[in-house]
Symmetry: C2
Subunit: 335 residues, 2 copies
């Protein structure tokens, strides 16, 4: 069973293995720098007649893809932990309504992939639950419509704004089998630096990312160099540099070869994506398609995955509320 | 550590104790049949200038109330599991942003109280996490505005519609201390009977409630009479009778003295609440103020608490999507 170390980190004592993963992205993501890593792309929201139904189809299809590539029987999946950005997380609920397995709905904004892994890893480590599916999704069009402007308006984008990734990623966490292990987790604490610019989510989330990384390193008594790669996300290019700066102020040097951000690497700036990618699907697809392959091919052996979320709604920002951030950290290692 | 029994039930082997609880409700709830059980009421959304900020204040105040009545130091709280009905669960995030403790955001619609207890109980049983706060809230005005009509329109209510409870409930789950124990949990499976009438949420959720109760009884090889009380919620008066009917079709007789529903008992029909109460805060406040007192005073010793959620949004129903339901069951016993 897990034991707590420091203020907020849990060391997993039993094997919690990332046994399988699956990922489906949209057209634009498949044309970006990580294009070759994504094993499936879906054009035009699977042809669904609304963006929201399209996003649910991403969830349904990714779940089916995970199961089809998987050596665990469907009825042995003890639970699914999933959430998304849509109001009332309907793409997860609609996409998984035929799954027939116990379902925990999560809401962690863009931190959801890490939230589901932290929660799922603690559940698998705790016993009882042997197989947990962790997944999340986002869709550019449904997110723009809900959080920003109607797409038809063709609004100009702010330089620090980010482009919501269309994509879904899923992993199967298991107490057995082969794959990299989750060795420790640091669930995040909400941090509010009173940023209220909805076009600068990277700034709103960077303090939370830095806080969780610093807590994780302090709790585990590790230097950042313990990890081959620390990946935040989706801070984007602006947020990544802010996070690096905050870490530096706290005495942690995060050089470019060790620290990067999922939102900063998923698109090429020439794709017109301003400060980079965002959305739950950003970290999920970068993890499932790219980072897990780096681990599999032993290009890296120790990864700290730190997905970040901005805890706001279109209503809360219109009412003048600032945007608190949260970040959860998951240590994934070849052991 | 927990062990799985049957298809979806987990028997907790270690003590998981409901060590403390707190609850704050609104004016109307305090005037209802359970009025004397609520230990605090808040008028007029704590005087906040928006309903959403009012709901966040309910969360913040209930969390503080829980801590103030609690013999566990704040820094020993290992995590908070919370969610609500507002878009992007902002009342939980805003209400808890000063908590300084690790936060897992959940979305289970009105099933959130049970979802947080199921998840929290498995985490505490699993070790590592010794103290977990489980909580949820809802607010009549913010829910009406978001899901139905602007209050200013004064729309006539459908007879089967329910009245969102203004209230928040929180419990501290602990591996030590005194209080009733969570002995087993049955996380729910999404059930879709293709109900699409947003004025009849009871009908949308009743199949999920019945499904989870039937699974729990089958998995644990128990008769419904094992429990002194089985409480669903928030099915309301209409949904409660539908649930009773479905149970009967599956050979389970759920008489009035054993089976009831949180939404059906929180208001008096003379309060103009149509089919009864709803909202995450309904089950949360009925559990924290009333059901836990019944257990404490040994009026009942074995409770099956089955909170239900309707997994829809204003957008999904406008797009013609049906309303899937989910229900999670928590067995709470004096042992």
């Amino acid at each position: 069973m897990a034991h707590k170390k420091g203020n907020q980190t849990f060391i997993l004592d039993k094997p919690v293995i990332i046994r399988h993963s699956a990922c489906i992205v949209g057209q634009k993501e498949s044309e970006g720098p990580l294009g070759k890593y994504f094993d499936q792309k879906a054009d035009d929201d699977f042809g669904m007649d609304t963006w929201e139904k399209g996003e649910a189809k991403f969830v349904e299809s990714t779940y089916k893809k995970l199961l089809s590539g998987c050596d665990v029987e469907e009825n042995l999946i003890d639970c699914i932990l999933a959430g998304d950005l849509l109001n009332q997380c309907t793409s997860s609920a609609c996409g998984l309504k035929e799954s027939g397995r116990p379902f925990f709905g999560l809401y962690g904004a863009c931190s959801t992939m890490a939230e589901s892994l932290v929660n799922g890893a603690l559940l698998v480590d705790g016993g009882g639950i042997n197989n947990a599916v962790c997944m999340t999704s986002s869709n550019f069009c449904s997110a723009e419509k809900q959080f920003r402007f109607p797409l038809e308006l063709g609004c100009q984008r702010a330089p620090n704004s980010q482009w919501t990734v269309t994509g879904c990623g899923a992993v199967l966490l298991s107490s057995g089998g082969n794959g990299p292990r989750i060795t420790s987790v640091t669930p995040g604490i909400i941090r509010d630096y009173e940023i209220s610019d909805t076009n600068n989510m990277g700034a709103a989330m960077a303090p939370a990312a830095a806080s969780t990384i610093l807590s994780h390193l302090a709790d585990t008594e590790r230097d950042i160099n313990y990890y081959d790669l620390v990946m935040t996300g989706d801070l984007g290019i602006t947020g990544r540099e802010l996070c690096r700066e905050i870490l530096k102020k706290h005495g942690v040097d995060a050089p470019k070869d060790i620290y990067d951000d999922c939102g900063a690497i998923i698109f090429d700036p020439e794709q017109g994506t301003c400060a980079g990618g965002s959305g739950c699907g950003c970290c999920a697809s970068v993890l499932c398609a790219y980072l897990l392959k780096l681990l599999e091919q032993k290009h890296i052996n120790k990864l700290l995955f730190v997905a970040t979320g901005a805890l706001m709604s279109a209503v809360s920002t219109k009412q003048g509320e600032p945007i608190p951030g949260i970040a959860h950290a998951v240590a994934i290692e070849n052991v």
